[in-house]
Symmetry: C2
DNA sequence: CGCTGCGTTGAGACTACTCAATATCCGTGG
DNA sequence: CCACGGATATTGAGTAGTCTCAACGCAGCG
């Protein structure tokens, strides 16, 4: 049984989406976690084309998923924060079409597929919640695609910070209107699908509007309404019952 | 009980991913379909923010999913062909974060969520297959994001035609190395995240390479290997047991 | 103290965009 | 059978956004 904050965050996130999780179901879910491992930053936790036998729950630190092209270009397709199941989809899918990397040092719990399978057999309702979790990942992905395709780099970046703030606030990983954004500008650029130089200039523009401010790696959202308006941010896609802000 | 080709296509697609679907499971799945409706082209079948009580199986015709920004910009986030479940994700998710539109006249079967729920209760294995189906949609989405973010418009377009050919061949909707691509250039542009004018020019470039040729709405892939190489197309993400080509 | 990684800046090139005009195709009604 | 209208495809010209390459600054760390 794994006992730490990241696990509580995970359960809390699930309850935000469906408040009917019973105590037995919760206990069973918790029981599906086995060991916890520590990973340094910039470590590939899972690699493209791997066949997986377990999924990974992120307890502390930030991680991401990415796809590399043959010439080395890299697109980050998801950012994960504590309480996120990074690759729950590898349970039904098995063969990975992308890699998972740590952006910071991370604590990660293992969830063997065999145990997950047992939980879904005992609790079909939990199986539905797992499915739901991967569907929300997909909804986030759709927003990223809209950002990359139809939003300007400025709007897209604003949208990302809105999204991250809401997701982090769910598990109390914000401090007032601030949170720590640990990605380098090069990593951010790989999320946005722009060059690192351009990412830098977009961030400067964003600071110029006074909507966002930085103190080291800590971002402050100074004007939520203006930022959300600029981004066209509508949090419905995150499927949360009670929306913060 | 709905009896027509699109349903067989759907079952065949499922078997391509997991050959262990039993006859009883198949029968139960087929039984989850109720009425079939005809929709003209350019009709919204499902709208953003709707709360759904049924999902839609596409039997004939092409459809897509899209997200609109407040100023009218539209990003298409998925293309669906006969045999695809267009919005199976609305079963766990209920509230839609995007709309579904027909690109051509379509025949669509309804699958009431209540009936889907019954099937998943009787056959947990089928529930896993439904989950899998939505996960493959997400994998396609990731490729679209990579295309939009890191591939050139030419590579991205080549990738899309590779993907569509493979998906259509699964259900025998190709004719030799050709298939009918019914989207207008403006619709294609909304998939790629470029302007209609630019989409037109990219298509001309693609014709110029002699890898692709058009006769009306029918595309011919003249040089599969060259096209796949240009696109960096690796079909692993489609999760098919036996890959054509 | 001198790496090394990250952020910042400048300059010039290129991709893709917008606006606007023209061409082509196709279905409908005369 | 032809004329017409509407939608779609194509072309041109000028512009905006983003890219690449290269240099420089700064901080942390061995």
């Amino acid at each position: 049984m794994v006992q730490e904050r990241g696990v509580d965050d995970w359960i809390r996130t699930i309850r935000h989406r469906d408040s009917t999780l019973s105590p037995e179901e919760e206990a069973d879910l918790r029981g599906a976690l086995s060991v916890v491992v520590e990973e340094p930053a910039d470590r590939d936790v899972v690699r493209e084309h791997d066949r997986q036998t377990r999924s990974h729950l992120l307890l502390e630190g930030w991680a991401g998923r990415y796809i590399t092209l043959s010439d080395g270009r890299r697109q980050i397709v998801a950012i994960h924060v504590p309480g996120d199941f990074v690759d729950l989809h590898s349970f039904p899918l098995q063969i990975m079409d992308h890699s998972v990397v740590t952006f910071t040092p991370c604590r990660i719990a293992h969830a063997p597929h065999e145990r997950l399978r047992e939980v879904t057999v005992r609790h079909p309702h939990v199986a539905r919640l797992m499915w739901l979790s991967t569907l929300i990942d997909a909804a986030v992905l759709r927003q990223w695609l809209v950002g990359s395709g139809k939003r300007s780099a400025l709007e897209q970046t604003a949208h990302l910070f809105c999204e991250l703030f809401v997701r982090l606030e769910l598990t109390g990983r914000t401090d007032g209107r601030t949170f720590i954004f640990p990605l380098s500008q090069a990593e951010l650029a790989d999320c946005l699908g722009v060059s690192a130089v351009h990412a830098n200039r977009v961030l400067q523009d964003l600071r110029g509007t006074r909507m966002l401010a930085w103190r080291g790696r800590r971002v402050e959202i100074r004007e939520w309404d203006a930022l959300a308006a600029l981004a066209g941010f509508d949090p419905v896609y995150l499927n949360l019952a009670d929306l913060p802000r």
